[in-house]
Amino acid sequence: MFYRRSGIRHTRYAEERQLWPLRFDRWLVGLAVALLVAAPLLVDRLYLVAYLLPWIIWSSAALGLNLLMGGAGQIHLGYGAVMAIGAYTCVHLVRAGVPFELAMLAGGLMSALVGIVFGAAALRVKSLYLAMATLAMQYIVDFVISHVPAISGGTQATISVPPVRFLGVPIEGDIATYFFALAVCAVITSFMLNVARTSFGRALAAVREKDYAAEIIGIDTFRYKLLAFWASSFIGGVVGSVLVVCYLRSVSPDQFHLDLSVQIVAMVIVGGLGSVLGSFFGAALVLFAPIIFNNLIGTVTAGLGIEIGSDLRSHLPLMLYGALIVGFLVVEPLGLAKIWDNARNYFLVWPFRHAGR
């Protein structure tokens, strides 16, 4: 814990440019990965399926949206619709006999294609219009899915997902689905960690900071915004298909309404715009805060003998999401990741707080 930086002197650029230049950080990441891999042995089956699995899937989705919102500074209020397109494409292809590996990628491609149509309309003008266009996209996609029987299977219909195999391994039972979701999450995470070190990531950062300035130093801003939109929608589509195959096991239109989009936007803001670690923190807080809060209120009111309305309890998650978004934007716009970073920087040189980094 103490003096972690002492004695670490990089002599080559490659060492300085590692993802985690400090040995302590590498140990921490290794420990986290080991815990996640060993989780099926460590925790109860109920916790694995009800908490860990959704956390991993929602974190993947938050990572995908974070590429667009944190990486390129573009707003997206219809990410749930993007995931719905991927999910429906994948399920229909699997039912038609296409191998799941291909169906998943096709789901991503379809999401990227449809997403880019909506993005291209608004990306030519101010970011404000993108917010409206993506909100409109959410409603239009919802409408098309539920009103075209070929997609949804009729109004109020639920399509169940047939058993699928990934590279020969059947994805069924708790352990296989968990590891599959974890593997997809790992791929997306490593992409997100490395994208900031590529020319693509640097171009996005330039566009995010000031698009005029980016244009002047020779970045085609429209092209890069569109690319960011494409990549983010692709990830969204893939995560959507993972979501239905691993977690929901069946697909119906009401799973992908505005609520899901709101949830993921809240995760990105609460976690921290542009932060990979933050997406995991944000997903955890947004997914579990309503549950914990609800239980807390339950025990407190039971202890005090007060009756609390069911209306209030059922609206608690929405209230909490809104309060989290507003609170973090006002108090700590860079989210939980920034709070973590502040604490980490403090302890890096503790007890010499003025030593600097």
Binding site: A136, Y139, F143, D311, P317, I325, L329
Partner: protein, 295 residues
Amino acid sequence: MDTALIGELALTGALVGMMYGLVAVGIVLIYKTSGIANFAQGAIAMTGGYVAWAISALLGVPIWIALPAAIVLMFGFGMLIELTVLRRMIGQPVIMVIMLTFGIEIFLRGAIPGFLGSAVKRLDLGIPQAPVFIGDMLLNRAYLIGGGISAALIVAAIVLFNSRAGVMMRAVSDDQGASWSVGIRVERAIALAWGLSAVTATAAGILWGSMQGVDWSLSLLLVKALAIAILGGLDSIPGVLLAALIVGVAESLATGILDPLLGGGTRDIVASAIILVTLLVRPYGLFGHTQIERV
């Protein structure tokens, strides 16, 4: 499809559009003064409806006192939002401020029905139910009165923009720094815009609430209001009048003509489609300034 039915649909649509436009005026007002789109407008309309209901039903105040009370309260509420939250975001990127207003929308959607009850509330303004006949066409009296009040309020907003306070707000919208230097209190003008937009939203919330009942679905007015604001040009109040007519008539005709073919639900999609088409064809809207920051 006979002409009487189409005429009836169009006329109803025009009146309904006026009531949507009342919500849109608030969005335009705030955009004009501070340059951000207010995504909380739908929830503020819902809050207004709930407040009017709470004052008249929970406190037992007669409706003709409850309505002005609700409007005054909501004026304060709008100013309060600006004062407590929005003012701290000055200097932040636009994307952050938009997210913030969206966060407020989500919070109000949860908090207001959560504390005041999510079941549909009845808000009776004392408008008789009997329809009005114009030739062969049958008109809902509530729509007629509601549309009339809305149109009057939108015109009042246009008149307001030519008064002293309005000139102040227009100056702020043109150049905040220059307004400061000639002694206009920019923050006061922006707070005033928030208060007034909460008032128009409340009026819309009350009118809609009296027709369909007060519940969370009033916040869905947001999408229609956004469609009207963007079609009229985000910085033009006269644009709202025309765009409200277009959106209302288009929605009503789509419901009447397309619904039997598609199996219902087209009403919710018209506004979204209009947003998308406007962005593709004419992003600055019908009357907006053409120099929208293009990138």
